[in-house]
């Protein structure tokens, strides 16, 4: 008998004795989830305000920019103050054109890359799948945001989002993921909530433990 069968036999044997729930049965509905979780506000403006507040509490930078021109100017300003030398990005009209516009050596992840090269990059510029107001989260996937490392290896992650990508809450985000990907899930889906952090030394917050020290979100 295979180990798989052994395990299943033990599980089935164990479950012949019934347990009783003190908390009701049946999987909760999305409405039930929403009824207990932190509120998000009804209007789009309230949700943008909530996202902005969450982002600032998380020590991420969130900026609404009115057009591509303003975004270019913002990125150039960052390039100059942080003295970027190399940029990493991926094939996506929004991210790649802006990255190339910086006029720096640019690594594009899509067709494979050397991880040592990416480690040398000062910033990773990517798009995202969604922004989540409830928690100030950026949702990225390996398929849409240039793979697994781009949003995690360089010390600064810049996200370029569009206004209509803001969703209200986590239930809405998971519903969206299911709707878009249920036929074929990407190998990684990441909910990024602020720059990398640790509190492992005396519970004192330090940013940039292993992932990016800075997270900047531009929203067109």
């Amino acid at each position: 008998m295979s180990e798989r069968e052994n395990i299943f036999n033990r599980i089935r044997e164990a479950l012949t004795v019934e347990a009783h729930s003190h908390n009701g049965t049946g999987l909760p509905t999305t409405a039930e989830h929403r009824g207990v979780m932190p509120p998000v506000g009804a209007s789009e403006d309230e949700r943008f305000a909530l996202f902005a507040k969450n982002a600032s509490d998380l020590k991420a930078t969130f900026k609404l920019v009115k057009d591509a021109g303003e975004l270019t100017a913002e990125l150039r300003a960052l390039r100059d103050t942080e003295k970027w030398q190399r940029v990493a990005t991926h094939k996506s009209p929004l991210a790649q054109t802006h990255a190339i516009g910086l006029g720096l050596p640019t690594l594009v992840t899509d067709d494979g890359y050397d991880k040592h090269d990416m480690e040398q990059c000062d910033v990773g510029i990517s798009v995202c799948d969604a922004l989540i107001a409830q928690t100030g989260t950026v949702l990225v996937t390996s398929r849409n945001s240039g793979g697994r490392a781009l949003s995690c290896l360089p010390p600064h992650h810049v996200v370029i989002a569009r206004r209509e990508q803001l969703v209200a809450d986590l239930p809405a985000a998971f519903a969206m993921v299911k709707k878009i990907y249920s036929a074929n899930y990407p190998s990684m889906i990441s909910f990024i909530t602020g720059p990398s952090r640790t509190g492992d030394i005396e519970r004192i917050l330090v940013l940039g433990a292993h992932g990016p020290k800075k997270l900047t979100i531009f929203c067109l």
């Binding site: 295979s2 180990e3 798989r4 052994n6 395990i7 299943f8 033990r10 599980i11 044997e13 479950l15 019934e18 347990a19 729930s21 003190h22 908390n23 049965t25 909760p28 999305t30 989830h33 009824g35 207990v36 992840t109 899509d110 494979g112 890359y113 991880k115 480690e119 928690t135 100030g136 390996s142 398929r143 793979g147 697994r148 995690c152 290896l153 986590l170 985000a173 998971f174 519903a175 299911k178 899930y185 990407p186 190998s187 990684m188 990441s190 909910f191 990024i192 909530t193 602020g194 990398s196 952090r197 640790t198 509190g199 492992d200 030394i201 005396e202 519970r203 330090v206 433990a209 292993h210």
Partner: protein
């Protein structure tokens, strides 16, 4: 007394009066409590959320066979290799087999309590591999050759000064005792390892049946790098980590964050469903998921305590436990400490050896009250006490019988009871003369506690007086 029990008693006796240890833990817990409570208040209905979480886990655990089969089928469909391990040895051998096959040299790991459970690091190091823990807290305790102190905060018992000295000694790199500077030392050291590593090993917080996806929660980004850079990725996960649906995460991720660290959401919640897929830029060529039983089915068979399999390892019950806070994480001598560890260790490793943990509790119930998935922790400790005594002898000992033979008639006759109380008051006074000395009959008690005096007047006496 079993060897683990002796060890527990010795360590508890040493650590409990250590005010330095207590100070460190109180400070850390104090910070945690403030943010945890703020976050809980933001929920519209925290108790309601606990009910929903408990209900979800009830469904998951009580239909484990269906969900587990579904999980394996779905994740295999994306090219993941699923392995099944009945016990620790099988799990170690599966993983060592993969390492051999890949001719690996350097292994990076992100935090996984299951790997502590099967003593994976020892086995890999023994076989000649270089193994690096990448979570900062885990890295620190690994350098100290120590097990993690706490489920969520592995190095919470150490001060920045101790960590500075450790880095100086082991890495020859410790510019100051500033936590930021120390974190950067680790970041630099581990970046090198990430780039060298052939295999990345992670644990998992949840395994989603419906989609065949693993979910990992972390703050540092170390698990993300572990899953991104090495060519081979292995996830070791207990079979009880199943959640039925993807949307269940919408509830569990924030609850885990609130109770684990007092955050609205942990920095990275990442779901992995396979190796690098066609059209993706990077990711491992191979993905292995090792599903571990290791006596979880024994706990499953105990319908009374089955809910303990719903534990999401948030550590909240440890944080509120007066015993944990006084004796510390290492005293338990178990992988899983605190109330949840005291409940499940006897199931995982043998009731007679570990029954003493059922008494590592004041039965205050703080753990049960705090648990986000409503595990009935303190009652399970009582059930373990019952189970530990019942099947072995079935009968109380001679001394117990004698004690009750004397106690029953005294307690049943008011006159006799009142006489005993009066005599005891005199006895108490006499005992006062020898208080704390070797001939003090209450010495076992008074060594660490005060003996409260018997009231000057009993309720009956007081009542009589009032009636006058």
């Amino acid at each position: 007394m079993s060897a683990p029990a002796t060890h527990f008693n010795e360590d508890a006796r040493r650590v409990a009066p250590d005010t330095r240890h207590r100070g460190i833990i109180q400070t850390a817990m104090g910070k945690y409590e403030v943010v945890r409570d703020q976050r809980k208040l933001l929920f519209q209905d925290w108790q309601g959320a606990r009910n929903l979480a408990a209900r979800t886990k009830f469904e998951a655990v009580n239909h484990l066979d269906t969900h587990l089969a579904e999980f394996a089928r779905n994740i295999e469909a994306r090219g993941t290799k699923v392995h099944w391990a009945s016990n620790a040895e099988q799990a170690r051998n599966i993983i060592l087999g993969i390492l051999r096959d890949k001719q690996a040299k350097v292994i990076v790991k992100s935090k996984a309590m299951t790997s502590e459970e099967i003593h994976l690091n020892d086995a890999m190091e023994h076989a000649g591999y270089e193994v690096v823990e990448s979570d900062l807290g885990e890295y620190i305790v690994q350098l100290r050759k120590e097990p993690p102190y706490h489920l969520v905060f592995p190095a919470m018992h150490l001060t920045r000064g101790e960590i500075k000295d450790l880095f100086q000694k082991k890495l020859n790199d410790a510019p100051s005792d500033d936590p930021e500077a120390l974190t950067m030392v680790a970041r630099r050291a581990l970046r090198k390892k990430y780039l060298q590593a052939d295999v990345g090993i992670t644990g998992a917080n949840f395994a989603i049946a419906e989609t065949g996806i693993i979910s990992i929660t972390e703050n540092e980004g170390n698990a993300r790098l572990t899953a991104a850079l090495p060519k081979t990725m292995i996830t070791l996960v207990g079979i009880e980590k199943i959640l039925p649906r993807l949307e269940d995460l919408a509830l569990f991720l924030p609850m885990l964050a609130v109770m684990g660290t007092g955050q609205a959401l942990t920095c990275y919640n990442t779901m992995y469903g396979g190796p690098r897929q066609p059209g993706e830029a990077d990711g491992p060529e191979e993905y292995h998921v090792v599903l571990l039983d290791n006596q979880r089915t024994t706990l499953l068979a105990d319908a009374e305590q089955r809910d303990a399999l719903g534990c999401i390892r948030c550590g909240a019950c440890l944080n509120v436990c007066p015993i944990f806070r006084n004796v510390g994480g290492h005293t338990y001598g178990t992988v899983y400490g605190g109330p949840i560890g005291s409940v499940i260790t006897p199931h995982l490793r043998g009731l007679q050896q570990w029954k003493h943990l059922s008494y590592a509790s004041s039965l205050c119930g703080a753990c049960t009250e705090t648990c986000p998935v409503k595990i009935d922790l303190h009652h399970h400790l009582l059930q373990n006490r019952r189970n530990a005594s019942a099947p072995t002898t079935g009968k109380p000992s001679f001394l117990q019988k004698l004690a009750f033979k004397i106690f029953a008639p005294v307690a049943n006759k008011p006159a006799l009871w009142s006489l005993t109380t009066k005599l005891s008051r005199i006895g108490m006074k006499l005992r006062g003369l020898v208080n704390g000395s070797a001939i003090d009959p209450a010495q076992a008690w008074t060594k660490t506690r005060d003996l409260p005096p018997i009231a000057k007047q009993s309720f009956r006496e007081w009542w009589k007086e009032q009636g006058k």
